[in-house]
Symmetry: C2
Subunit: 409 residues, 2 copies
């Protein structure tokens, strides 16, 4: 078996990929109701002041604040009541000094008023007069015109992922349609003579195609579109045909498997023979994931992941997630991380990143990170993992009792 | 305005809701490829031993471990080579003492062998003989039959959400179809005379229906199905009609708004007049979110959320997410939390939970949680929040510099 030479670090691999391939996604204008999870392809500005008019935040009386200065329960200030502003009504009159108007939460303040006295701090003196028992400051209980958003202000940047909160803000700003990137199309090819479809009864030496489903799930979770190109046996011509088909229909191709003897070279040869730049790296200084291949053809990247599901998943997390997020136009990808106390020693070689999947448990105020060890090739640990811990390149390991950062799945 | 009496705690509210309403979702068998994000309605067992046959994890020679004991580079053990087991081949012969067979990663071990010597630790002596230069232990470089999953073992429990990892394991176990709960259908009604559709040019006192989009986003994020029933003005008959329509089509109804005078009572009256149990609570000891209403009609729950988007969101996070997760059949809902250092003092009343939205920033090895303060009713803080902090019922506040748990959005 040929040795894997020239191992590069995950950061170097990401740099190589990002500097060779770019976002080339088309943008499309879609209904706001369809935009959840999508990525903004243009910055969003406020099209108007929001609120467009000064608005009360309480039920009470709109007043000119100065009129209320000095008001107390014993010596209330009396103001002339000029009626009521109904919800959605335009106040078409101007208040003079010593006057007040009844207003409800959300109501628009008439000219001549700058604040609202809460109804609890007033009493009806007679039909035309209210008694104010507490002073208000100018602007109190009011959201001024443009205080929430100013016309022309950039509210959401290009590359923002639209969560529920962004949907709400876009609705408030009056955007019934938004321009977003089309989701990244990710081709998935599983290679290996030993692979069989899911519902097959296994013969010796066969395993069911697990990686395709694992990758489909992760890609859906990232809001992207997986396209599965099936199982390809370890034959050069069939591999070439599958890669070509996937490249023509998708933005990036994920290959996995081909761990049996000599097959890694076949993947390398196929990528190199199809175009430029071909293979950019073959061999990563991470464990698991050493035999990873990165490269691409005519502007479309290809990642070759290991065949073992647990290894394929870890390489996908470490390299695939940040690279795919970058290609999808996402401004910044946010990985939730929690701090936890390591329960056992984790050995590592210096010059190699070791990735350990862990299970989190709560102990009093803290989390414990329990590494899920076991023979490589076992997959029963997959579903118990909450996240993973990285032992950095320059360390010989981490010690039991150390605080570590767990990157959540 | 009628005072809100009998405030109950969020935990009491959740208890009341859970003890009055149950999961009543139908299960359906679907294709595995469609199952991402769904919840298992039945436990999943291994249908067979996995792997079904003992399997090599390396390229090398299958041997009987005892034959290799004592082997060194200077004094290798010589074994008779009985040929090769191709990938996917059934080994139909039995090895005797002193014999070895060539095997590849994933290959099935023949009878009479219990371990695999890596090819790197051997040399070809002659055509029929290999020299083993290191001993192996029984089971070394082998995954035994059933070592990953034992036939009949429960691998995934009922109520498990299917992530990528679960998809992979289900594929490995041969499940091309799985039985999952139908996604919870959540009805959304926005109430208030001041509300207008998203693309409307605002008149004074009007605001665009922001909560509907906010809630649609959160419900999609939870893997559930939102159904929007539009904007209902503050008229009793129209409110009744909308609630009836939503109840007939969905599993739970979320109402939001109706914050102007007297309207809260209208929602209470509507819920009480439509059936039992009617309103279970009206008023929560949380801020924001005090005027929340909880109840239901004939087995279907209704939650009445505040009208302010930021308040509606916080109540949805605190009460809605755990309750909807419970109704959806989820075994345990997992809220990612990170520890962070609070940047300013946060005041709170004892006997009341205060929820503060915060922005997270990294400072050296730690996160800082910066509360997003501002007038209630402003929504520009929504998109900057990464999560929120709870000041518990029994505390008068939290201090700047304290370590807090941030529940991530």
């Amino acid at each position: 078996m040929k040795d894997l030479l020239n191992l590069i670090t995950p950061e170097e691999a990401l740099y190589l990929l990002k500097s060779n391939f770019n976002v080339s996604l088309k943008a499309a204008e879609i209904e706001l109701s369809q935009a959840f999870g999508k990525i903004l392809a243009k910055p969003v500005e406020a099209q108007e002041n929001l609120p467009p008019f000064s608005r009360s935040t309480v039920d009470g009386y709109a007043v000119f604040a100065e009129d209320t200065f000095g008001a107390t329960e014993t010596f209330p200030v009396l103001l002339k009541l000029r009626g009521e502003i109904g919800m959605g009504e335009v106040p078409e009159f101007t208040l003079g000094p010593g006057e007040a108007v009844r207003i409800f939460t959300g109501g628009a303040l008439p000219e001549g008023t700058d604040s609202v006295v809460m109804v609890e701090h007033t009493e009806q003196f007679d039909e035309e007069t209210i008694a104010v028992m507490r002073p208000v400051a100018p602007g109190e209980n009011v959201i001024a015109a443009g205080e929430d958003f100013k016309e022309g202000e950039v509210v959401l940047e290009k590359g923002t992922r639209i969560r529920a909160q962004e949907l709400g803000v876009l609705a408030a700003l009056g955007y019934g349609r938004v321009t977003v990137y089309k989701p990244l199309k990710v081709g998935i090819i599983s290679t290996g003579d030993e692979l069989v479809p899911v519902e097959t009864k296994l013969k010796p030496g066969q395993i069911r195609d697990t990686n395709a489903y694992l990758l489909v799930g992760r890609i859906l979770d990232l809001g992207m579109q997986p396209v599965y190109f099936g199982i390809v046996p370890d034959k050069f011509e069939e591999l070439m045909k599958a890669i070509k088909a996937a490249l023509s229909e998708t933005d990036i191709v994920l290959l996995s498997g081909g761990t049996s003897m000599g097959v890694k070279d076949m993947v390398v040869d196929a990528i190199n023979s199809l175009g430029t730049p071909g293979v950019l790296f073959h061999g990563l200084a991470i464990k698991p994931g050493k035999p990873t291949i990165g490269g691409g053809i005519n502007g479309k990247p290809i990642l070759g992941l290991p065949g073992h599901p647990a290894s394929a998943l870890m390489v996908f997390e470490r390299i695939g997630v940040p690279f795919l997020s970058y290609l999808s136009g996402l401004k910044s990808s946010y990985e939730p991380r929690v701090k936890a106390t390591l329960t056992i020693n984790l050995p590592s070689k210096t010059g190699q990143e070791d990735l350990y999947r862990v299970m989190l448990t709560q102990k009093e105020q803290n989390y414990l990170a329990m590494p899920l060890l076991g023979k490589s090739g076992l997959i029963n640990t997959l579903t118990r993992a909450d996240g993973y811990v990285i032992v950095p390149l320059d360390l010989e390991g981490l010690h039991a009792g150390e605080e570590v950062e767990v990157i959540l799945f």
